[in-house]
Symmetry: C2
Subunit: 405 residues, 2 copies
């Protein structure tokens, strides 16, 4: 039997040796609420704490009535019930290999959740190393049915164990999004593997498209090609940690957590190659260019729609479509974990577009100095933000009316 | 006779129509001093106001004894004498066409200033439009001798009138640096001209290399080529607003103020083409890609060493070589006017390198929310920062010792 506790302990020890100052929580979140001015167009906002004490949250899912499921990295599923964090965890999640670099990640509801109660989640799964090493993990997709009391996941199943097994620490991060047609997109991270994101037989560094039972969708682009894993939609990704459908075009946009100076947003299309690790704007932490090529362009690889240099470490993302902020409609919002691994530099990034392309990027909430893991629009049209901290919090952003001048 | 006042008035009117919120001074500077923590390596700093009430300063030059000449955009040369701003301006500067987009810009001392008292400056010069239009300006280089009382420039001469005449508003910005061999580099801005930065017969969008009398250096790379202006060192620049010599390699580095998302730092070498406007990472303010090409790469054009996406609007820059901050030695510091034209986002950018390349970028002073126009090391080894505001200020950054933990 694999000794999970030993894995976690050893991983923890290793990570403390690798630790950078960025990992410490340097700026505790105050009590709030806070008000900030934002610009282009001018918009005053109020930011309030809904719940706190959520340990390193990774993903969140709004239930139809406004309750929120929140996934903690260490493997606990939490419920914010009537606006209050339930002290009891939602039981039933599988054994999860958690550490600073992985664990329970995203959580989403089935499109027919109101009828079937199904909850999907991605997580890091440990296994026995074939050569006897200490670390051996991959990324998996699970599903369970939330009971009526919202205290437990029942009938929990593993729907997909990816073939991304690796003994390398880090390179995790997996986001889930249901498409309008009911198919499920799951990002499968790069695991710091130098070649696998370009290898068709590996799930590593790919975007996967699944049926709601975790099987490959029958009309996937590489179905029938024996060289490719049948789940693959697109290749050459590093770590997609944000996905959202554009409200007008219906395109799937994905934010990729790159190396230093290599963050990207792409419109992800079937069969396309997004270049990692052959093409990137970024540098690895040694200072060397991260991509194998010296130039940020290669024929046949998709050029990113947006890049960030230096990095913001983009996490969850959404397009805003609500009524509370009419002038932000169709703007893209991304969580930013931090810039250049500098403590206190997390923020929410707002990107606005016109018919030609991007016209503005603005940093929101940067004065709070929190790492931001996810940003989503709630059923009430307000904007909800999850901070990735030991004392993680769910924040809500509301508009503040400013008297006409 | 050209009516300067009318030019300024009309330019002002036009600009107020073009004005974005970014132009307003939204965040007044407090009294200070302030203390901030910086990271990687941890370094606590104290920031104090040396002088304020300097209207839109553009450049500064330290005299050997620590007095500072500061150029105000509107054409006034100011002296900070014994740490106090002299209320009387240094007289003798020529007639300067100033507006929001141009005016008196950089100011530097001759390498033998201690003996000859010579001061060099770049400025926007107005002329009579050949077709009778209202605006007709170019960039010029001037020189004068600072009198002993430091109250006046004497023997003021125009050393070079570039052929960058244009009736387009904006696209100014010119920095000066003396090379170790006594030659003078002057950046000649792009004037928003769609082709001239690639045209060898135009000074527009070029870096120029001059003798100290303003004539082209005899060993310039295009001397003898009748297609090229003899002053040209390198081509395809947009708006170089920062230049510094690397303390170890002796290379000249230049920061280029790009379009949205197109800021660059390059090592500028003779005959090289830096791509503007054919290659850029940026977008123009309409949202369209700014460069003529869709891809940020073209054979034969130099790839930038550093890019910023989104923009920080880099201004003056320096490499730090002092003793006050031993762990910042050889780091690059750039002024940032703002990010994405969002008010309150100016800062000082610190970039550190190892032998492989860039390893870290950090934003300093961003909590002050001031536009930063220049950053220089003073004769005392401290770091001096010029804020580009109506109530512009000269700030000094000192280290604060933190007790060992």
């Amino acid at each position: 039997m694999f000794k999970l506790s030993r894995l976690v302990l050893l991983a923890g020890l290793s990570l403390s040796m690798l630790a950078v100052p960025a990992q410490a929580q340097v700026f505790p979140l105050g009590d709030g609420p806070w008000e900030f001015d934002t610009y282009s167009p001018p918009q005053r906002i109020k930011v309030s704490v809904i719940a706190r004490g959520i340990e390193h949250p990774w993903g969140m899912a709004f239930l139809p009535d406004g309750d929120v499921l929140v996934a903690e990295r260490k493997g606990a599923l939490r419920l914010i019930r009537d606006g209050v964090l339930d002290p009891q965890i939602v039981s039933g999640t599988p054994q999860i290999a958690f550490a600073q670099w992985g664990g329970l990640m995203d959580v989403v509801l089935h499109p027919q959740f109101a009828d079937n109660g199904l909850v999907y989640f991605t997580y890091t799964k440990a296994g026995e190393h074939p050569e006897g090493g200490e670390y051996w993990t991959t990324t998996a997709l699970g599903r369970g049915r939330l009971n009526e009391a919202r205290t437990a996941l029942e009938n929990v199943e593993e729907l997909l164990e990816t073939n991304g097994w690796s003994d390398v620490i880090g390179g995790h991060g997996s986001r889930l999004r249901f498409a309008p047609d009911g198919k499920l997109f799951m990002s499968s991270p790069f695991r710091r593997h130098p070649e696998a994101p370009q290898q068709p037989g590996s799930h590593i560094g790919k975007l996967l498209r699944l049926n709601d039972d975790g099987s490959p969708a029958a009309d996937n682009p590489f179905i029938g090609n024996p060289d490719y894993m049948p789940e693959i939609w697109s290749v050459g990704h590093r770590a997609i940690e944000g996905m959202a459908y554009h409200p007008r075009t219906g395109e799937l946009w994905a934010a990729e957590h790159g190396p230093q100076g290599g963050d990207e947003v792409n419109i992800v299309q079937p069969t396309q190659n997004y270049g990692w690790p052959l093409v990137s704007f970024g540098r690895d932490y040694s200072g060397r260019p991260a991509a194998a090529l010296e130039k940020p362009y290669l024929e046949g690889m998709v050029q990113p729609l947006l890049v960030w240099v230096p990095s913001i470490a983009p996490s969850g993302m959404m397009f805003y479509t609500g009524e509370a902020f009419p002038r932000w409609q169709n703007d893209l919002f991304l969580g930013g974990l931090m810039t250049g691994r500098i403590p206190g530099t997390g923020h929410v990034e707002r990107v606005s577009f016109n018919v030609f392309g991007e016209i503005k990027r603005e940093r929101l909430l940067n004065d709070l100095k929190q790492r931001i893991r996810d940003v989503q629009q709630g059923p009430d049209g307000l904007i909800y933000v999850l901070t990735e901290e030991v004392d993680g919090a769910l924040l809500v952003i509301e508009p503040v009316a400013v008297p006409a001048q």
